[in-house]
């Protein structure tokens, strides 16, 4: 099966049908999750610590198989794909991990370029793009530093640059602004929004930061006791309600 950019225009970028997840013999972490993310959508995922946000994201970036149900990306049920086909799908998904997962023996530049290296691209073809991206996230001067010498915020920015360097069709970010100051947080959000608007990248961001959620008019999904609900307290519906109330005053 060949996956092409045209798949971006499939009806659905991500679909979860009755997905449950449990580790070993424990109780279900996630239970009967149904979720549809349209191509080019922007969503937030919230929930208390331990609610299963990271587990749900792992299902989305194909690091875990569901115990029950089906995860489909770009209209393709992943349970029916070969390993090579799964790898091809993963190349279309950029991930910002909560714990960054940078490779300590590589420089910031090499960490960002890693997905391009995996694709087999020659360094000369992406050097300027990677340097530009690093400069954009404020690390132009530190591109040859290795992660252990970078601050938490700098590492986070390297992780974000690595996730977006291939201009993925889906961007999944787990607490992407947790270690940066508000100004950098807003700047990174603008990057995500730009990717979403310019390239119709489907973005889903897991966060505790309600300030971040309020910045964007986007649906908010909340995980509660293993179940996924659409949050009405934040997001576009709540925002509209607040606006109406303000106008009435």
């Amino acid at each position: 099966m060949t996956l092409s950019r045209h798949d971006l225009f499939d009806d659905v970028a991500v679909r979860l049908d009755g997905v449950s997840l449990r580790y070993d013999t424990s109780e279900d972490i996630l239970s009967g999750i149904d979720l549809v993310l349209k191509p080019g959508s922007f969503s937030f995922l919230t929930g208390a610590s331990g609610a299963g946000k990271t587990s749900l994201l792992k299902l989305l970036y194909l690091a875990l198989k569901p115990s029950q149900g089906e995860v489909s990306l770009f209209g393709r049920p992943t349970s029916r794909l070969t390993r090579d086909q799964l790898s091809a799908l993963r190349r279309r998904v950029g991930v910002v991990f909560q714990e960054f997962r940078l490779l300590d023996h590589l420089t910031a530049y090499e960490n960002v370029a890693l997905p391009l290296r995996v694709l087999g691209r020659k360094e000369s073809t992406y050097r300027s793009d990677v340097e530009e991206l690093l400069a954009w996230v404020g690390l132009g001067e530190r591109m040859h530093a290795r992660p252990p010498t970078l601050s938490g915020g700098e590492q986070q920015r390297v992780a974000i640059a690595r996730a977006v360097v291939t201009q993925p069709d889906i961007l999944i970010a787990d607490e992407p602004t947790g270690n940066v100051d508000p100004e950098m947080g807003s700047r990174l959000m603008r990057l995500f929004l730009e990717l979403n608007k310019r390239r119709a990248t489907t973005v889903i961001i897991a966060t505790h930061d309600l300030g971040l959620v309020r910045q964007v008019e986007a649906p908010v999904f909340r995980l509660q006791h293993g179940l996924l609900v659409q949050d009405v307290e934040y997001g576009p519906v709540a925002r509209r309600r607040t606006d109406i109330a303000k106008a009435a005053e």
Binding site: A63, R101, E110
Partner: protein
């Protein structure tokens, strides 16, 4: 831009230990292979020399009688040549037992006839025995082929032992490398996971480990082979320079085939390491999504 950093970091301590183990195994395997080959060559050389050779001993005959017996033997079908040994030759044969001062004239010695049979002659020993007895000669026929058979059997066992040693050493090396690959994979799980989630195919990840262990096997094998070459050369030098009798060591030399074995040792070690690494990584990756 500087050269790209390898995706798998070099792990000095662990890889040095593995390098030492693989090098030592290659050294032993190369020596065992050289021994097996040398044993095979020795067996061929020894048996080729004695096959078709017989010695007829005439305890009661004088020189004239022995000469008659020689003619009788030579006239027998299947005999290529029969030669009566001189007194000096008999003395030389007995020298290791009685010393170089010569034997007393009064000591009764049998007359000896060295017989060479035609290559396709069969049962020549019993035929000669029968004809000499019929002609009134007390005799004893020593067929060297009997001794050659014993030598062949002994050398076949020695060869089998050497080949078993080679096979065991090779499989030990493969097992050690597979174990080391697995350990490296576990130690580098973080890197493997990141590559995997970045869309790297299994064979791409396996390729990183394959290259690493191919080079390690190649280098360790080269060191092992060089040490084996040194050991073999030292052994040959010691034997030849000691002035010892080397008649029993006809193949103790380094020829083209021996050098080929030594050249192939690192290549085989590298390939074995590469295959072991590939199988281990692919198998391990299949356990994750």
């Amino acid at each position: 831009m500087a050269k790209e950093t390898p995706l798998l970091p070099v792990e000095d301590a662990r890889e040095m230990a593995l390098f030492f183990v693989v090098g030592a195994l290659c050294f032993l395997a190369a020596l065992a292979t050289l021994s097996a080959k040398s044993t095979y060559g020795a067996a061929r050389s020894w048996t080729a020399e004695v096959e078709g050779e017989l010695t007829v001993s005439l305890p009661d005959a004088d020189r004239r009688g022995a000469e008659s017996a020689r003619k009788l033997i030579e006239a027998t079908e299947g005999v290529k040549e029969a030669r009566l040994l001189s007194k000096a030759e008999i003395d030389a044969l007995l020298e290791p037992n009685f010393g170089s001062r010569g034997l007393p004239e009064s000591l009764p010695l049998p007359q000896l006839i060295a017989v060479t049979a035609e290559p396709d002659a069969q049962f020549i020993g019993p035929t000669l025995e029968r004809r000499l007895t019929e002609a009134g000669f007390a005799n004893a026929v020593d067929e060297h082929a009997d001794w050659a058979g014993d030598v062949r059997r002994m050398l076949a066992i020695a060869r089998l032992v050497a080949l078993t040693a080679v096979a065991l050493l090779a499989s030990t090396a493969v097992a050690v490398i597979a174990f080391a690959t697995h350990a490296a994979l576990l130690a580098r799980r973080d890197i493997v996971d990141v590559l995997h989630l970045a869309g790297a195919r299994d064979r791409y990840i396996a390729g990183l480990f394959e290259r690493r262990f191919w080079l390690l096997g190649l280098r360790a094998g080269a060191v092992g082979a060089l040490l084996a070459l040194g050991a073999a050369a030292a052994m040959i030098f010691a034997v030849h320079s000691s002035g010892a009798r080397t008649g029993l060591l006809p193949e103790l030399s380094l020829d083209f085939q021996d050098l080929l074995i030594l050249v192939l040792t690192p290549v085989i070690a590298g390939l074995a390491a590469r295959i072991a690494a590939r199988v281990t990584v692919i198998r391990s990756l299949k356990s994750v999504m």
